[in-house]
Symmetry: D2
Subunit: 165 residues, 4 copies
């Protein structure tokens, strides 16, 4: 029997964890975090992960360098999150290809009966050169030093439970 | 041979079209629209579609009524969109179930060689009662009058090309 | 006796009007539009005004050109605005100096007893050259053709009441 | 000779400091943080300050309780801030009245020659009861226990310099 997205998310080893306090401006009139905010949280987690590797996802203006636009992003929402909640986003590297990386992001919330998986997302991001004429972006192979760091981080990934201890 | 997401999107009949001017605050330092904004655009299109049916997605405070939180949202990005672009979002009702609706949203941009499909997204939204104790949301069957309007709109859907004329 | 901000706003001639539908993502858990959204609305109104003059506030990437960062922005909030409200933003040019423009933005909402002034804001924006080394921005004199258009628009400004007719 | 806003900001004692990493989604195509984000940062700082007092600015849904909509918010921008900058927001209580509080927020950025004041803002917020019919908000006196905490925090305020040590 095939596993659900939730079951798959529960078992996936993560490379990095990012803790995010829900802010008032992230909520909507239904009293919960607006769904578009989850995509910003996933990006924040990914960028914090890059910083933890000594890398940045975007070179400062005027430097040429690379950027990481998205090819795909999805999210499944299991339970709402609310103002002042502290959400823990586990970052998993699901796949590294020559020009793209697929991240999985698992959202955890501390509740009465322990931690609960409240959402899970998937983002495919492509490495591009920003130096093209007229600001054109062209996809390129992920630079080797960064690829090595990502591969190493993936090998070090641990089950979400073990990281909490 | 199976069709790509892009091919499927190109052929899907749409119920409604929403035109959105890209605003400066929607862009990021890469010079393009931030990917999280596409989810807001899809929601705006969906809500404009509801208004076109004489419905609203959220009752005013204090009225009880229903809301429509999301269970899933995904987007595939084919080409970037930029400041001051006018994007046309075609809204397709992909599936109506007892408590949920799956919308597909197709993003079109006018370019040199005609219109180009620049992104396509999918949103599953669930009908909930907002009157629960402590603000709890409980999924409910879509009210019959609204379901009838959605079904009728789906029957009236036309190919994106024919709508443009 | 000195006039209040509200009284001053009521009497100020406006060059342009921008109508903005309040979107769901603009609301917060208090059920009203989040105050940070008003600053985006003011910017949208200003940019629509620029487009009405055949100008844009930001050259496309790679072109050199000018930009308009803000030196100051303030807003006074008289009554809340809510989901699906249609807000009318009147744009007044309060002052044109060599390098800066001060806009006033008056927010109107149709209510039971006619239109109500629900907020008023003030934004000072400075003309900069974007071509500096390392992305540095340097303030410059407003280009003469644009200045002429702004001056002409200010001379054509009319009382908000007369524009509605 | 009267002091400038910058000089006044430099000397004002602060009750609380909030450190905020600039996120990618906060930037715009000019390569800097969009001005509307500063208002969100000020609010985040204010809410973190409330949490440090054991208070929250917004009761959870269904509880009645109080909220804190804004009457006024302004910001003066001295130097841009950019992706991945760590901004330090100093929160000063400028005035406590029966129903309102005026906060001043001073934005600091670490640079080559020490810390630089890059922006300063002012927010007036009013205490309201959320329990009104139809979601109506009515201004009320600040509850005494909260007022006492705010007064005490103001008395403990220190010069920004001394807090850094």
């Amino acid at each position: 029997m095939s596993k659900t997205k939730k079951e798959l998310a529960l078992g996936e080893p993560v490379c990095f964890e990012y803790v995010r306090r829900v802010q008032f401006a992230d909520t909507d009139m239904a009293g919960i975090v607006h769904f578009s905010a989850y995509y910003r949280y996933m990006e924040e987690a990914e960028h914090a992960f890059f910083r933890s590797l000594g890398e940045t996802v975007h070179a400062r203006q005027g430097s040429g360098g690379v950027g990481w636009p998205r090819l795909h992003a999805s999210c499944d929402f299991f339970s709402p999150i609310r103002f002042e909640d502290e959400v823990r986003v586990g970052v998993a590297i699901h796949e590294i290809r020559s020009k793209t990386v697929r991240f999985h992001h698992h959202f955890w919330l501390a509740g009465e009966g322990g931690e609960e998986l409240v959402a899970t997302g998937s983002v495919v991001t492509v490495c591009v050169s920003l130096g093209g004429a007229g600001g054109r972006m062209e996809s390129i192979a992920i630079p080797a030093p960064l690829r090595d760091k990502l591969e190493a981080a993936r090998r070090r990934a641990v089950a979400p439970g073990s990281r909490k201890a």
